[in-house]
Symmetry: C2
DNA sequence: CCGACCTGTAACATGATATATTACAGGTGT
DNA sequence: ACACCTGTAATATATCATGTTACAGGTCGG
């Protein structure tokens, strides 16, 4: 099991929009080229982030624009926006038919749920603590280092 | 995306083995009845835990037996044993072909990896902090409360 | 030593999901 | 009018989780 690549694709997209938006028009085609996936995937991921209020898009003329500074967008915002996990079901898939006639079967769910929820919570809190500004900053630093060694 | 139910099934199995092993023979058929899945699933999950050294099994006569006390088995041990995530690839699936000709494309992976690894790490550390003794204890308490209200 | 019961494992079916791809209707700006 | 863009539907494919049947071989009580 792995968290869908939509997540890293979305982070890549946001970073690229921020990096390029002042110098060129950032269309889904262009982004698809940078990310290395089909433009339709990009448009879908962008659509999810638009619904989540992270960015705005312009039909026709093209290009996407962030609605707030990178420092106000966390990895958690992206993760939620692109639906990496079902919000209701949670991160862990509990087996669905523990036997109610068995004492363990009818109580294990309740006994485990609290711990599973906590695990999910610490993970999500860590995601909240990382902003897209952090990622963008690291990306720009890496690009800067490339220039040095040329 | 969700973590496979093999994980909660495995926790259920360990808890049930501990709960029943002194009073009856705990076969894969019996466990399958408690968990509510096919006996083959149980045998496969048990097989994975055997490979991980968490329990021993007896061909022929049946029954599984834990190799160490519940307090020495953590949720993380189970999670690793039943292969919830690919150990090499990690929890997050990075898109595989970011464009090396794009400055963002060729640096985003490195810029993100550190954060993704940290997120995975805090999650796994939380899993290490919960032992099967905790889960068993809560299960037994829940069973005890049932008895009270009868 | 036979028969009942068990495990380990392979083989196959099925449904869900991630990703890719084609297609097209409709918006925008020159 | 035309080129370029987005939003979205429809479809294809591959992978994976889970279920199911089947069977070879181990163990043990009678």
């Amino acid at each position: 099991m792995q968290i869908t690549s939509r997540f890293t694709i979305a982070v890549h997209i946001i970073t690229a929009i921020d990096y390029f938006q002042k110098t060129r028009r950032v269309s889904s085609e262009f982004l698809a080229g940078s990310v290395g996936v089909n433009p339709v995937i990009v448009r879908n991921v962008i659509g999810m982030m638009r619904e989540a209020g992270i960015l705005r898009t312009q039909k026709g003329s093209g290009g996407a624009e962030l609605t707030r500074p990178l420092s106000d967008i966390s990895l958690y915002d992206i993760y939620k926006a692109v639906d990496c996990v079902d919000s209701e079901a949670g991160l862990f898939h509990f087996h669905e038919q523990p036997n109610p006639e068995c004492p363990v079967g009818r109580n294990i769910h309740q006994a485990l749920d609290e711990s599973l929820a906590e695990i999910q919570r610490v993970m999500e809190e860590k995601m909240r603590s990382v902003s897209l500004a952090d990622i963008s900053e690291r990306t720009r630093q890496a690009i800067g280092k490339e220039a040095e060694t040329e």
